[in-house]
Symmetry: C2
Subunit: 111 residues, 2 copies
DNA sequence: CTATTTCATCGTAAAAGTACGATGATAAGG
DNA sequence: CCTTATCATCGTACTTTTACGATGAAATAG
């Protein structure tokens, strides 16, 4: 990146980009799908489903948690994750509000 | 990445991840915002707005075009881009359908 | 207390992303 | 034809991401 220019952009742009970044890997999409389907906190069962090593899955889970898309608690010897629907809703709205009402303008003129 | 495992996932997961990847940088979000706001094809005006070099903006534009989020045509000596609303709608639906109806299940049990 | 299980973290290696200046290609203007 | 303008591409440097095995920490089971 030479020198990170990320902070030269607005907070809204950064937030949306950070959210998208968390979704920007099929493994993390798959993890979210598993968590959403179960809706009860899962942990190493995810490792069994994905074609990835345990440490790699753990990294993806941490990335998702850092992005705020999932919550995690410690349950004895195992970790328990589930989707943070509130954050999900927030970003969905942010995404829609950013582009939806702009589409109302007169449609395509070129391209 | 050692060895790319991207192809070990379903096409839906890959598509959604690719879409998110295109949004996963504030500069590209900013570009889309500019294009959406004008709705007429813009080109190097984007360079004036962004705090990035021309070559860097060009790279981002190419990334967005490769992801299918924008269309581009050559207009004399300059390039003209605009948002591909159709693709945008497609991915928005894909995103919603992936997570929305799953939320209907009984809410949170832990975390 | 000693396994065992479960997960996080460390270390490492390879791949991809980000950014810039410089150069190249293409079309318009003189 | 020659210049200028506009944008893409190349080459390069640095950062970040991805992935794995190995190790470490914490709680349960015996």
């Amino acid at each position: 990146m030479a020198i990170a220019k990320t902070e030269s952009f607005s907070k809204k742009e950064q937030d949306l980009a950070a959210f998208a970044k968390a979704l920007a890997h099929p493994a993390r999409v798959a993890i979210l799908k598993v968590l959403a389907g179960k809706n009860e906190c899962v942990c190493g069962q995810i490792v069994d489903v994905l074609p990835l090593a345990q440490s790699t899955v753990s990294q993806h889970l941490i990335a998702l948690k850092a992005a705020g898309l999932i919550n995690g608690t410690v349950d004895g010897p195992r970790s328990c994750y589930c989707i943070n629907w509130k954050a999900f809703e927030k970003f969905k709205n942010e995404f829609n509000s950013l582009f939806d009402h702009l589409q109302v303008k007169d449609q395509q003129r070129c391209c």
